[in-house]
Symmetry: C2
Subunit: 323 residues, 2 copies
């Protein structure tokens, strides 16, 4: 959570001349997102989020992210819709950085999701996959299994410092994952959110109201998105899997899109792998974030503990899957 780029009233008023959304009446930097600077913008015509894309985001990927949000909005899926400038483009420039305005979405992120919220997010994810089913947008997953060994290399001693034997356990996990990883051609692929944590989901009262933050979206196996959500939504405390929530999330997804037999078979490895991906990127941030950074890195131990559960899981039923 941070605002990296300060935008003053003159900068903003000049920027808004690129749009036909009226004049600014309120503008506040918000503590949301760790990669970019986000501002709540109210104009005479409505409310929006203005994002300035900072250096960690590859500018070449931005048209893809804009396209995904645009296609979702057109399909009626509740996601922020990019607002086009009067030149027809959603991507503009502010203070020398790429910037965009998207519509404001109401809702609150659950800190401790209930089983019913897990069911709803499962169903919402399936609708998101289906809404993007015909898309021609394409972006490779830069954090897929092929990147993991490189992420771990040189950080073995940091892992060893986090928990006894963790370095060798991770080595073992990586071997097992490479051996068990499904062939992507055997399962449905498409556009996935790839970061659908509770932080990025909104509910109004008890009801799902939308998904935000599409800046890890990519093309990959659809079931891998489910695997990420299982890790993000269905654990308690220290690596304790809540089977009721797992059942709810998987059943919610299946209520909107039926898993193929190959997907069901692949799920345990995908869930284990999804935990590995977040463990490794947190390990990298943990090692590389300077002490005076505006954002405190998340402790990788949370995901090391989830890996501990996955190491002992044997079947998709261990995650609550029921045909």
């Amino acid at each position: 959570m941070a605002v990296y780029t300060e935008v003053d009233d003159d900068d903003l008023n000049a920027f808004l001349k690129n749009y036909a959304i009226g004049e600014a009446v309120a503008f506040k930097g918000i503590a949301e997102g760790v990669e970019n600077s986000n501002f709540l913008l109210e104009t005479t015509t409505g409310r929006f989020i203005l994002t300035i894309y900072e250096k960690r985001v590859n500018a070449a990927d931005l048209p893809y992210f804009m396209g995904v949000m645009d296609e979702l909005a057109h399909a009626g899926f509740p996601a922020p819709q990019p607002v086009r400038g009067t030149n027809g483009e959603a991507l503009q420039e502010l203070l020398g950085r790429p910037a965009a305005i998207v519509t404001f979405l109401k809702g609150m992120s659950p800190r401790k999701p209930t089983a019913d919220q897990c069911r709803q997010i499962g169903a919402a994810m399936a609708r998101l996959h289906l809404a993007l089913g015909e898309s021609e947008l394409n972006r490779e997953n830069s954090l897929s299994i092929s990147s993991w060994s490189d992420l771990f290399e040189g950080r073995e001693s940091v892992a060893a410092g986090l928990a006894p034997n963790l370095a060798s356990l991770i080595e073992g996990d990586l071997e097992r994952l490479h051996a068990q990883w499904p062939n992507p051609k055997d399962v449905p692929n498409g556009i996935i959110h790839a970061d659908l944590f509770p932080d990025n989901a909104f509910f109004l009262g008890e009801h799902f109201s939308g998904v935000i933050d599409f800046y890890f979206a990519c093309n990959d196996m659809l079931a891998y998105d489910v695997a990420i959500a299982i890790n993000a939504w269905c654990f308690e405390g220290r690596g304790e899997f809540n089977l009721t929530k797992g059942r709810a999330l998987l059943a919610g997804y299946a209520s909107e899109r039926t898993f193929t037999p190959a997907e069901v078979k692949a799920l345990p490895a995908l869930i284990h792998g999804a935990a590995m991906r977040f463990f490794l990127t947190r390990l990298v941030d943990w090692t590389d974030t300077p002490a005076d950074a505006l954002v405190r890195p998340k402790n990788p131990l949370e995901y090391a503990e989830k890996l501990g559960f996955h190491r002992l899981a044997h079947s998709v039923e261990d995650y609550g899957y029921a045909p």
Copy 2:
């Protein structure tokens, strides 16, 4: 700018049971204020700012700040109005800290105020003083001239490192200020904002729309508030005084409340002293803020440069005062 205390949806929903303002529909930490944690809260009935008061604020002062905002709102002055809980109190508790909800104010803070905005803020400040003229609230200014020598003590070498001779210049300023300081009994006193920087003023288009952040408010000489604003609004670049803006601010104030002859005489020393107060507190923050703090301290040099102007100013006309 920072959010020091994280509030999750469960915490918030429980907290809102203390109020009759409906259910939360959006909640975002905002990068505003350096002392407290602030959140933009939208409920089914409207928009609000929720503030959690952090350790730097003396909890005993909070009823005074609430009272000031409340009296201003009742007088029709555009300031945030504290929302009372169903128990009748504006101050509540959230996560073990004092917390309050105030109404949301539209507007944008000018980064580079125009002369006309200086005129408007002068007039608004006079209306603020008049609106609080009958108040019985009382809080001593803890950063008044009697505190300055103590603030400087032990930090002479830091000052010397900022600019050649700065330490001895400050010593000289303090002597001169003590000699020239008006007797508070000779001038009008009352409740002052004491921190009315452009950050804390809102404009909608070209028009003044409100004042926020009353957490330095106190009882002191009214002209001292004007002196703070002269420093905060009427300088350019490196300690260069913009006489046009000075004229505008003073004339704006005088259009709503006439300065007494004793105030006019006192203004040069008060303006010099106001610069000293902000120089010293910034010097303290500069020295005491740990390198890994969420908030970067402001460089005291800006106010050292303003002190340089004041040292050479001879009369109230040097600040643009015209009878």
